[in-house]
């Protein structure tokens, strides 16, 4: 890694972030409709992505327990509740591992 290469990587990364946010004009209704449907799918996909380790299966038991805790309260549509339930799941997973 050289300084010019690092700066080029930084420039590409910034451009990818800026291109839509800065230059995108008002979009047609049909496109906005599709975009509005994406956030839930992106977050769910990122959650699944963080639970899988390619080549070695699923994440560790603590992470899976935390995710289970958060999943159980998703019908309440509350981020703070998901965070609390996720932490509770992590602690319970840790306790279960110690008991086994």
């Amino acid at each position: 890694m050289t300084w010019p290469l690092m700066l080029l990587v930084g420039a590409i990364t910034f451009a990818s972030r800026a291109v839509s946010l800065v230059f995108l004009p008002q979009l047609p209704a049909r496109v906005r409709h599709v975009l509005d449907r994406m956030p839930t799918a992106i977050f769910a996909g990122l959650a699944a992505h963080s639970l899988v380790l390619p080549g070695s299966g699923l994440a560790d038991i603590h992470t899976l327990a935390a995710a289970t805790g958060a999943l159980l309260v998703t019908p309440r549509h509350s981020l703070p509740l998901c965070l609390v339930a996720g932490i509770a799941g992590y602690v319970l997973g840790d306790l279960a591992l110690r008991l086994l």
């Binding site: 946010l21 800065v22 049909r30 449907r37 956030p39 799918a41 992106i42 390619p54 935390a66 981020l79």
Partner: protein
């Protein structure tokens, strides 16, 4: 979080566990990367690039002896999701173009998610959460470079990200259809991990595009002004 969006305190409270986790990963990155790259360049990379997943990938490629082209192709591919993130956030960020340019530097996965559920204060949430995460990422990198270790915290911090993303999916899901869409996206990611592991890094975006594409019925409703 109501329709007006969260204030500074609520934003800081929501961002804090994420920022802490990002800081821990910064320590891990700083320690790992400085074994391969000049320490000053490692810190500069975190300050200029500000993308954990990309930086870890670049270090792994350097260790495997990859060339410049491979590094640049990886950079472009891993950054593609930002184009989608920006398009989703664009209608919610109503400030001058130069301010959007500044804000876009701080648009990472986590700040994007928080901004999205920030209601009418998406700009404010993006700025506050992005700056806080930037601060902890760069600080963590510096600590890692100078010799700090975060082995005991790494496992805990790793659990924060799925919790956050599940929470954000829950908050943004509208009705039963939204929940089903999230479930479908997660299943597609798992399927890609099993069947097409080479595409795993792009799986969330592929899944999101697949499940967001409207059926003929919902498309006609959208054009007619309905909300699917």
């Amino acid at each position: 979080m109501d329709g007006e969006g969260p204030g500074l305190r609520a934003t800081l409270i929501t961002t804090a566990p994420l920022a802490l986790a990002i800081g821990v990963f910064g320590v891990v990155f700083g320690a790992a990367a400085s074994a391969t790259i000049d320490p000053l360049l490692v810190v500069a990379m975190s300050a200029v690039v500000f993308s954990g997943s990309l930086q870890f990938a670049l270090v792994a490629l350097l260790l495997s002896g990859a060339g410049v082209i491979a590094l640049l192709v990886t950079t472009i591919v891993l950054n593609l999701r930002h184009v989608v993130f920006g398009a989703v956030l664009r209608p919610r960020i109503e400030v001058a173009r130069w301010r959007r340019a500044v804000l876009s530097f701080f648009m990472i996965d986590e700040s994007f998610g928080l901004a999205l559920v920030g209601g009418k204060r998406a700009t404010f949430v993006l700025a506050v959460s992005g700056v806080l995460c930037y601060f902890t990422w760069v600080t963590g990198t510096i600590l890692g470079v100078v010799g700090a270790r975060a082995v005991s915290l790494e496992e805990v911090s790793r659990a924060v990200f799925p919790i956050l993303f599940i929470g954000l999916a829950a908050v943004t899901a509208r009705g039963k259809e939204g929940m089903l869409r999230g479930l479908a996206a997660a299943l597609i990611v798992f399927a890609i991990a099993l069947v097409l592991p080479g595409l795993f890094d792009y799986a969330p975006i592929i899944a999101a595009i697949v499940v967001a594409l409207p059926s003929r019925r919902t498309a006609s409703r959208a054009v007619g002004g309905g909300n699917a």
